[in-house]
């Protein structure tokens, strides 16, 4: 299901988002796109070029970006509202909570520049807690694509789904992992992208590529890993997570987000109630980010295959 390591092509999920929007815009005229003066960065500018009559710049006013989107949805439109993750989930949290999720309106909050990989702009711009915030809201669906192919499928799935969706994308170009003809994303489903009996690595976003790298490295050390891409953070595919834990008896999670409240927490919740097995969470360790080169920052904050390998070795040691 995954492409071989050799021919790695890198595309930012935000770039895939812009292209997906243009495609969908042609198929469904109910789709409208709103941005808050970041359309060149979020790539909604692509949509604006083709469908300017359905693109609305709301200016630097994120609360109103969400409020207008709610109103548009209440009259039957399918608004995609885009800005950076921090300004949507952060600045407009309560608009998302009360004007979108509470009335279960059909708004797609499609954000980019999530996580440490924002890079040079620094900590103020690196949302590391947005998934925790969004996951806690009733009626909210939370999706985290791992690559360009999955982004395309997720944007389509979000448009087809009736209700609020938060889609978290990144700035940094990341490896294309999947083949569109073979890979299939569905809301509420996790994808097992590698099978192995010794440990389960559950990841999403750009950490899926790192999980696959880690699995290769672990294989050389004689450890066979199951790798689960958990792009649907909410609803969470509890069955797949429980089965992976049953099969392997040890779990490592990996995410470009705080280990508080994101994928690691969600998996811990499921495991502790159903099948308590040794667990390690790879992620941002309750700290803000900083300015720097994205790749260097990912290393500095422990968001690497190497860190996953270390966690796997620890968790396997704990197995009974």
């Amino acid at each position: 299901m995954t492409k071989s390591e050799e021919k790695v092509i890198k595309i930012a999920t935000r770039d895939a988002y812009g292209k997906a929007l243009v495609k969908l815009g042609g198929e469904n005229t109910d789709i409208v796109v709103l941005d808050a003066d970041l359309s060149k960065s979020t790539k909604t500018a692509d949509f604006n070029k083709v469908y300017p009559e359905r693109f609305f710049n709301m200016g630097i006013a994120e609360q109103n970006l969400i409020g207008f989107s709610a109103g548009l949805a209440a009259v039957g439109k399918i608004p995609f509202a885009s800005t950076f993750a921090i300004f949507a989930a952060g600045r407009a949290f309560e608009q998302i909570r009360n004007s979108v999720a509470y009335p279960k309106l059909n708004v797609k909050i499609a954000v980019t520049h999530a996580g440490i990989s924002v890079g040079e702009d620094g900590g103020s711009h690196q949302a590391i807690e947005d998934l925790a915030l969004m996951r806690a809201i009733p009626n909210m669906t939370v999706l985290v694509p791992a690559d360009a192919v999955e982004t395309d499928q997720i944007i389509r799935a979000a448009a087809e789904y009736q209700g609020p969706v938060y889609i978290r994308m990144g700035r940094l170009a990341v490896p294309v992992l999947f083949d569109d003809t073979k890979y299939s994303f569905a809301i509420g489903k996790a994808n097992i992208i590698r099978e192995g009996k010794d440990v389960a690595i559950i990841a999403n976003g750009l950490m899926v590529a790192e999980a696959l790298k880690a699995a290769e490295e672990l294989k050389e050390q004689g450890i066979e890993s199951t790798v689960v891409n958990c792009a649907s953070l909410k609803p969470l595919d509890e069955e797949t997570i429980i089965n992976a834990a049953k099969l392997t008896g040890a779990v490592v999670t990996a995410e470009e987000h705080s280990i508080i409240g994101g994928l690691g927490s969600a998996v811990a919740e499921v495991l502790s109630e159903n099948i308590p097995v040794p667990l390690r969470r790879v992620g941002v360790k309750d700290t803000f980010g900083e300015s720097g080169n994205p790749e260097e920052l990912l290393k500095k904050y422990g968001l690497t295959a190497q860190e996953i390998v270390i966690a796997v070795r620890e968790v396997i040691k704990q197995k009974k």
């Binding site: 409208v32 609360q63 109103n64 969400i66 409020g67 109103g71 039957g76 004007s99």
Partner: protein, 272 residues
Amino acid sequence: MTEIKEMARKIRMDIIEMLTMAKSGHPGGSLSAADIMAVLFFDEMRLDPANKDWSERDRFVLSKGHAAPVYYAALANKGFFPREELLKLRKTGHFLQGHPDMRKVPGVDMSTGSLGHGISAAGGMALAGKIDKKSFRVYSLLGDGEMAEGLVWEAAMAASHYKLDNLVAILDYNGLQIDGACEEVMKSSPLDDKWRAFGWNVLEIDGHDLKEIKEALEKAKNFKGKPTIIIAKTIKGKGVSFMENQAGWHGNAPSSEQAELALAELKGGELG
């Protein structure tokens, strides 16, 4: 107009009755808006209670969502649900939530309660109308304390930027909010100049004069290229002498004795 005057009286009496039964809720800002709501729902807006999801209907968003009692009374009297239901406001398991809920209350177009949100959503609805070149209009009622919310001004800016002349905001200008006079809590005046500066058509009226309300709504309809705000001077608690102009009656329900007095006044009073 006499019919609408009677309707405003009926709405006020319903407000008192439902709040008394609920033992909590917001009488002051509900009573101040009763005349505006009576004109909107019984003269101005195109609605069909038998077909509540009619796509061409005019939309209403109660941005000052705490005035849910005046909204529910208007909806019930309009026929969206039986009037008896009003007496179960805020009760566990009943559909009449403390603040308007579009998923639970028939006729409610947008869930509100968090101040500032309503006018923003109303802007989005008006924009949707423009995209599809539909003829429905969008009305939103705001409070003067609510004017302190930044989101109100974000929405005001966007509504004029997108020339949403199908949007009408009505400001229930009663001078009071929870902690006292708006001018003391957070001065927002001069509001006419502010809204004008934000690119709106501004009308100022007596919010208890049914004729003035009707005429202002008519003027708004004929004004093209800008959204309109009707700044309606009102009296908080209007119609119940001991509630009038009292900040303390913002969010307290009357006792049954107080309700009796209030209802007697409303029954005999010359309103509108």
